[in-house]
């Protein structure tokens, strides 16, 4: 058998490297895939993808929760600072409590005094 002759099909080479390195083009295709699917930052051909997408999710959730909490706190503080109505009604002059938000007019005071007599 001569050096270049083969006896079986199985002796044909199964590994035939391409004429050029295809990896740069494949890496570019991978980058395009990522950009199309989730708008992630570009991937260097031999680099490792940074999981920015997964890190952003907890931060966003925290921001939303904090905003809701602040709004709720502000509403509670606002309601607490408003003048409240006690069981005896709007008795602004009773006891030592003075409701600054409401000042009864002079006519009301005179008529009330007349009724009390």
């Amino acid at each position: 058998m001569n050096d270049t002759g083969i006896r079986t099909i199985g002796e044909l080479p199964v590994e035939v490297p391409p004429g050029r390195d295809l990896w740069p083009a494949i890496a570019a295709g991978i980058v395009a895939e990522r950009a199309a699917s989730d708008a992630s930052p570009t991937l260097a051909p031999a680099g490792i993808a940074r999981p920015l997408r997964s890190a952003r999710a907890p931060l966003a959730l925290f921001a939303v929760t904090a905003s809701v909490a602040l709004v709720g706190l502000g509403m509670w503080l606002g309601r607490a600072s408003l003048p409240g109505l006690n069981a005896a009604g709007a008795g602004a002059a009773t006891g030592s409590t003075l409701l600054v938000a409401y000042q009864p007019g002079g006519r009301f005071v005179a008529e009330r005094a007349a009724l009390r007599r």
Binding site: T8, I9, L12, V14, E33
Partner: protein, 193 residues
């Protein structure tokens, strides 16, 4: 399955080690590790390109198909479940790419009516054949016969496995193999024992 570029088959232990390594790299690559995928590319590009080259019969088309196969493999990596080896899975993708790129579906000659009656084939020539001569003869085969020959006789897939890759019944694939054998013997003017 024959070892890459060598006529000596790997031991089952070597094969298992390679498959474990590939599987580990594939898992990492499936999580977005491009370096792991590059290693898989470096390891498998020769066989994938060889497969595409023999099926497509054109160097430029083979490079395009190889590139597309790896990009599709990256896309599909999260779904790789290691039911078959990574190489087999990759070859399936490459075969699909080549078949999709064929512009005109070839209409083959009628095949034997009872392909299941066909026995196992050997591919030993009664006299040595020049490498260039046999490459030319393989490239000249009709698409269906050449596909079956490349996958089974060269890359070591069974007719069932090759049939699945090519979208053919196992019997049809076997019949294509027999046809390839007859045509090769005729073109090379040699007996195949």
């Amino acid at each position: 399955m024959p070892d890459s570029g060598s006529s000596m088959p790997m031991s089952s232990a070597d094969t298992a080690t390679v498959m474990d390594f590939d599987e580990a790299l594939a898992r990492r690559a499936g999580r977005g590790d491009a370096r792991a995928f590059e290693r898989l590319y470096r390891e498998h590009v020769g066989r994938v390109h060889g497969l595409c080259l023999r099926m497509a019969r054109d160097a430029a088309a083979a490079e395009d198909c190889t590139q597309e196969a790896f990009i599709r493999a990256w896309r599909a990596l999260p779904r790789f479940e290691a039911r078959s080896s990574f190489g087999t899975w990759l070859h399936r993708i490459a075969v699909n790419v080549v078949l999709e790129r064929r512009r005109v579906p070839t209409r083959e000659e009628p095949l034997p009516p009872d392909p299941d009656a066909l026995g196992e084939l050997s591919w030993v020539f009664d006299t040595p054949v020049e490498l260039a001569e046999i490459e030319t003869a393989v490239a000249a085969l009709p698409d269906g016969a050449r596909d079956a020959l490349v996958l089974c006789a060269l890359y070591g897939y069974t007719s069932v496995e090759a049939g699945e890759m090519l979208g053919l019944a196992a019997g049809t694939c076997k019949a294509q193999l027999h046809r390839a054998r007859q045509l090769l013997a005729s073109r090379l003017n040699r007996g195949i024992v």
